[in-house]
Amino acid sequence: MSPKRVDKIATGVIYAMAVIIVMILVALLAYILINGLPHVSWSFIVSPSRVFEAGGGIAAQLFNSFYLLVLSMIISIPLSILAGIFLSEYAPKNKLTDFVRTAIEILSSLPSVVVGLFGFLVFVIQFKIGFSIISGALSLTLFNLPLLTRNVEESLQSIHFTQREAGYALGLSRWETVTRVIIPEALPSLITGIILGAGRVFGEAAALIYTAGQSSPALNFSNWNPLYINSPLNPFRPAETLAVHIWKINGEGIIPDLNAVSTASSAILILAVLIFNLIARSWGRRLYKRLTGAN
């Protein structure tokens, strides 16, 4: 066969596979949305959930998901960026560094339930923080750090070495060059990594069951003083997230409208991820433009 023909066939196969993927994905999304959206209403979003009667909503769960996401990102983003900088810029190229990298990679393959139990025994019991958003956020941080760190390291590595030389030759420290030149340039791929991480946090259930808990106090959305147990901002209150809620009602739920609540929650979860995605992306693009002068 002539190379031209092979090229044509290969291109056809690649197109076909891409189409199959898109079809799988579209079917999945359509399945979730078509099943769920008819049950979604404004009152579903803003009313509290119920334990055994029909008609409950997901107000607290939705808020909890976002709050937990923000908290765990506040902890894990700086930590992973710093660690990624170290691995990419400062770590000596030796066996020890390789060992650390391997260890971090292996951590990412731990099932989240193990991370959750670790979080339970350490944060909830040992540190006496109790079932709380903060315990959940810390556990999710453990769970997210390996992937984020890895992503940061790779994003930084993908920026050419000559940029660092340029900074160095101008009398700038590697630190300044990395934080002010390399990171802005790597921003798009950093943000992709963060979005992937955020998606994991948003959808995680197993690691939260034992740490953030599977029930939450009725929130008082008019009390924003974090010192009160029923304040939405209190990071020390137990909090059931949307993903945990879906898991719980399907597993042990006894509400009669279980199916409706579960499918509607899934649909909302997907929409929330979508919206989060769009916001993060447009914000990232604007920041990138501002920092790099790109047009």
């Binding site: 930590l79 391997t102 989240s112 193990v114 992937l196 998606g199 993903a243």
Partner: protein, 308 residues
């Protein structure tokens, strides 16, 4: 002679101080992570090993035994903790899912970076990122209500089993593998492509001989990460694999994985008892297996890198 430039070079500059500062805090960050990793490893290992030290289970029996019933004892008076069914189950679903997902991920990545250009990326990228955000619970339920009946209608049986698990995991790891593959294809310098096209190579030849080859270590890493995710995934697999503690003899009969047993059993056992320790031993095996995977892939990556 007083030369200010000369003097200034002998003092520690602001930049040098910043460098020290940056080095220190980034080192602290990695130290924290290493400490956490060490703590988790220690935690899992110490609990996992106590099955063998405290409860006197033979390690070899644990790996090769095929009966899992930590609550009761076998005919020889030893606890029934044989993890073989789960180890095989985990292996099968992970490898099968990776085998199916890899070509798709590579194809999608090529599509996005080489074939369809910006437009392809615009369509696929958001969809792929969205997929990561779908909770595994939801994947599990879709698997239960779509994949399991599908497998049942084609292959008979109950539909639960390794095949159903593989399909679900395939979709779950696809985004991870794809987006990482895309990154590694993108990092292939443009002049490689230009050089290849300049030699009158077709697009496919360029992709196959130049781009994929130089992106190979990155692609392998993507696959490991995909396998790692498949390996550690619990909720979704647990819902479709059937959770039967039998050595899998076909792809369509119920089987179990390390994670599914772990997730199911944790809440029902009491810390410190054999049933609980045995579960931690499973977690330990999970760690060891991913270590092995990691080393193997690293080895392949090194070999590929040397022959280039």
């Amino acid at each position: 002679m007083n030369d200010p430039i000369r003097e200034s070079m002998l003092k520690k500059s602001k930049a040098a101080k910043r460098e020290t500062f940056g080095k220190t805090i980034s080192f602290l960050a990695i130290a924290v992570i290493v400490a956490v990793v060490a703590a988790i490893f220690y935690f899992v290992a110490s609990k996992g090993i106590s099955t063998f030290t405290q409860n006197g289970v033979n390690f070899w029996d644990f790996l090769t035994g095929s009966t899992w019933n930590p609550g009761s004892k076998g005919a020889d008076g030893k606890p029934l903790v044989g993890a073989l069914p789960m180890i095989l189950g985990s292996f099968f679903v992970t490898i099968l899912a990776a085998i199916i997902a890899t070509p798709f991920a590579i194809a999608a990545a090529i599509f996005m970076t080489e074939v369809a250009g910006k437009k392809g990326t615009k369509i696929l990228q958001p969809v792929i990122e969205l997929l990561v955000g779908i909770p595994s619970v939801v994947y599990g339920f879709i698997g239960l209500s779509v994949v399991v009946p599908f497998v049942r209608s084609i292959f008979g049986g109950t539909g639960f089993g390794i095949l159903a698990g593989t399909f679900v995991l395939f979709v779950m790891i696809l985004p991870t593998v794809t987006s990482m593959t895309v990154d590694s294809l993108r990092s292939v310098p443009r002049h490689y492509r230009e050089a290849s096209y300049a030699l009158a190579a077709t697009r496919w030849q360029t992709i196959y001989k130049v781009i994929l080859r130089s992106a190979m270590p990155g692609i392998l890493t993507a696959i490991v990460f995909g396998m790692a995710r498949a390996f550690g995934e619990a909720l979704a697999v647990q819902m479709v694999i059937g959770n039967a503690f039998t050595v899998p003899n076909s792809l369509t009969t119920p089987a179990s994985t390390l994670t599914s047993v772990l997730t199911m059993g944790m809440g029902n056992s009491v810390m410190g008892t054999l049933s609980n320790n045995a579960l931690w031993s499973l977690a330990l095996i999970l760690l060891m297996m991913s270590l092995i995977f990691n080393l193997v892939i690293r080895w392949i990556g090194n070999k590929g890198g040397n022959t280039k």
